[in-house]
Every structure is written in structure tokens, then in C-alpha cells.
């Protein structure tokens, strides 16, 4: 393998891993994907991968050198489409040349997310679905509207924890104010609880379980700490709203 090819391959492997981790992928899948992409080229051997949710170090051996790359993960989001497309890319990378691999990664990177208004609307319908699930079909319009508000808060740019505290404060305080100030008869409990799951970190919990199960305890603990922090943020927002109303 020529030196420029080695560099190109290292770049592709790192991009693949980085995209997967940034889209909310778990450590073990990312590790396997990177090794698989690396070994898809002839002349490469002994791929070694050290991953945490925020750091990537990858090394592999060619005929006359050992190539090592490191990278930092700065932003993590939830993107199921990217995860599915990277999975597809990894499964078909053996049939591709380097240029095709790069253009496939470019296309995955350029994958757009749903527009903000769709995500806000989905939050509203999601809350309404929870309202139905928790057995409160009468209050669905209010649950839907509060869900829209929470969706709007959560889709803003800013510190994630602060946004979650603000959203959980909003979903707790709204039904109480509606009942006490506007005198609308609401089941406060169900209305609040129906909007709570919008803030639940599903992807983080899933990754924590999966990484721990795969023996990646460091990453598993990291994700568990993140999930606990988010849960504490939800509880803080709710507690603040309830405490303010008690006072």
C-alpha cells in the first residue's frame, strides 16, 4: 500500500468512526465498523481502536509502517438515518474504492435532519400519544399544545441541560397555571407526565446498556453519568416548578 493510500484510508476510517459517534452510535458498533473499514483494504493488519464517547484513537499496520490517528468528538446528536447509512456503508465498503468511499461518507455527512417545525410538531403529537397511553384522552388538546411548547424549547440552540431544566419547568408549571388561573379542569398529573418523556435520553440509555453489556465499562459509566445528569435536570425543572407553586 502506497503512503498516500495509507493516509487516505486512515482519514476514511476516522471519518466513519467520528460520524457514527456524532450521530449517537455506541462504542462497540463504532469500534467494529472502523476495524471492518480498515481491513476492507488489502495490506492492512492489526487494527487497534481505543474509543470513549468523546475520544477516538485508531491505529493499524501496513507493510512498512504503523499508522495512528487521534480525534476528539465535540458534538453528539441523535440521528438514526446516519447510523443506518453508515451501517450500510460498512457492509458494502469492500466493493468500493477509496474515492467511492470518500464520496459515500460525504453524502452521509451532508444528510439533513428534519426541519425544526417538523420536530416541534412531532413533539406535540408525541405528547398527545403519551396522553392516550396514560389514559387521558379528554386533555389531549392541552397536552398537545404543551408538548409543542416543550418541543420548541428543546429544539433551541443552547446548553442541553439548561434547555431540559427549562422544558421540564414549563411542562410542570403550565397545567398548574391553566387550572388555577384559567380554571380549566385538567388532570395535572397526567398532563405533566405525558410531556416528561420528551426529555428522556433514549439514545443515551440505550448506549449505556449496550456498552456495558459489551464490556466497555468506561464508556458505559460515561453514558450512565450523562443519563443520570439529564434525569437530575428533569427532576430539577419539575422540582423548581412545584416548589415555586408551594411558596
Amino acid at each position: 500500500m502506497e503512503p498516500y493510500e495509507t493516509n487516505q484510508l486512515a482519514k476514511i476510517v476516522m471519518r466513519c468512526g467520528k460520524l457514527l459517534l456524532m450521530s449517537g452510535g455506541d462504542i462497540i458498533s463504532t469500534q467494529e465498523s472502523m476495524k471492518r473499514v480498515c481491513l476492507s483494504r488489502k495490506g492492512t493488519s492489526k487494527p487497534e481502536c481505543v474509543l470513549t464517547p468523546t475520544t477516538m484513537i485508531f491505529s493499524f499496520k501496513t507493510k512498512d509502517q504503523i499508522v495512528t490517528r487521534a480525534c476528539e468528538i465535540t458534538k453528539v446528536s441523535n440521528d438514526l438515518v446516519r447510523i443506518a447509512r453508515i451501517h450500510d456503508f460498512v457492509n458494502h465498503c469492500e466493493a468500493m474504492n477509496m474515492e467511492q468511499m470518500e464520496s459515500a461518507l460525504d453524502s452521509i455527512e451532508q444528510e439533513t435532519t428534519h426541519p425544526r417545525w417538523i420536530r416541534i410538531l412531532a413533539s406535540g403529537f408525541c405528547s398527545a400519544g403519551f396522553g392516550l397511553f396514560f389514559g387521558d384522552p379528554i386533555d389531549l388538546p392541552f397536552i398537545f399544545l404543551i408538548g409543542l411548547g416543550a418541543g420548541w424549547i428543546l429544539t433551541n440552540q443552547g446548553n442541553r441541560i439548561l434547555l431540559i431544566i427549562a422544558a421540564s419547568f414549563f411542562v410542570t408549571v403550565c397545567p398548574i397555571l391553566l387550572e388555577h388561573l384559567v380554571h380549566i379542569q385538567l388532570s395535572i398529573e397526567t398532563t405533566v407526565v405525558s410531556n416528561m418523556p420528551l426529555m428522556v435520553p433514549g439514545m443515551v440509555i440505550f448506549n449505556a446498556i449496550r456498552d456495558t453489556l459489551a464490556g466497555k465499562y468506561q464508556a458505559g459509566l460515561n453514558r450512565t453519568a450523562e443519563a443520570c445528569l439529564i434525569a437530575a435536570a428533569i427532576a430539577t425543572g419539575t422540582g423548581l416548578a412545584l416548589g415555586a407553586l408551594v411558596l
Binding site: L80, R82, G129, L132, V200, L213, T238, V246
Partner: protein, 148 residues
């Protein structure tokens, strides 16, 4: 039964919408909704907080694995979106209420309940994934002795 189906429908809608919020597309959204519907329907036939949590966990993790294999997609496309409705939000709300009103004993009791439910959900997912991994190893590498 109608109420049960209605509740399951609600869970299905919630799961599908969660999938959209996680940037899911097309068929993935429908599948997530279907898995949520089936899990909520299945757990409706059981009594008790812990049993229901465990049964729902088993149903959605098994269905997610099945659909991931049918659609040739990673299980991460379905499971995170389906997981959300089944986490104990109601208990968290009660716990915070009890903390705010100064009833710490009741709040700690509620916290232990929450931890148990979360543990059972994790156990269900863990059991499913371990069993499937073991089975797929046996199917793909029959020449290897699984006990060695």
C-alpha cells in the same frame, strides 16, 4: 379491551413521533410505532409495575432485533425511539412532588421503585441481546464449541 388497544395506539403514536424526533425516516417510523404498539398491548395483559416493565422490555427488544434483521439495519435505529415511552416518568413526577413537600422517606421509596423499573428494562434488553448473540454465534460458526 378497547381501552387497552387505545392505550397501545397512544404508545405507538408516541414511539413513531420519537423516531421522527431522532431523525428517523420512512419505514423506520412506522416500524417504531408498530413495536411500541405491540409492547404496550403485551404489557397490558399483565399486572404489577415490575412485571409490566420487564414484559414490555422483552417485547420491544425482541421485536427491535427481529425488525433490525429483516430490514438489515442496526438495532439502534429502532430501540432508542421505542425505549422512551416505557421509562417511569410518572414515578419521577411523584418522587419530585414528595421531595418538594418534605416527605423524604416516601421520595426515597419512590426512587428505589424507579431504580428497580429501570433495572428491569435494562435486564430485559440485556437478556435479549445476550441470547441473540449466543444464538447467532452458534448458527454462523457451528464448527466452534460454544462451551470452550
Amino acid at each position: 379491551m378497547i381501552i387497552l388497544v387505545l392505550k397501545a395506539l397512544g404508545a405507538g403514536i408516541a414511539c413513531a413521533m420519537c423516531s421522527i424526533r431522532f431523525n428517523g425516516r420512512g419505514k423506520d417510523i412506522v416500524v417504531a410505532g408498530f413495536i411500541g404498539f405491540m409492547a404496550a398491548l403485551g404489557m397490558g395483559f399483565f399486572e404489577g409495575l415490575y412485571t409490566r416493565a420487564f414484559v414490555s422490555g422483552l417485547i420491544y427488544s425482541i421485536l427491535s432485533e427481529i425488525f433490525a434483521r429483516i430490514e438489515k439495519k442496526p438495532v439502534a435505529v429502532y430501540l432508542p425511539a421505542v425505549l422512551v415511552p416505557f421509562v417511569p416518568g410518572k414515578l419521577t413526577f411523584y418522587m419530585m412532588g414528595e421531595f418538594v413537600h418534605g416527605d423524604r422517606l416516601a421520595a426515597m421509596d419512590r426512587l428505589s421503585e424507579i431504580m428497580c423499573v429501570c433495572g428491569l428494562i435494562a435486564l430485559a434488553i440485556l437478556l435479549t441481546q445476550t441470547t441473540l448473540r449466543f444464538l447467532s454465534k452458534m448458527i454462523h460458526r457451528p464448527e466452534e464449541d460454544p462451551f470452550l
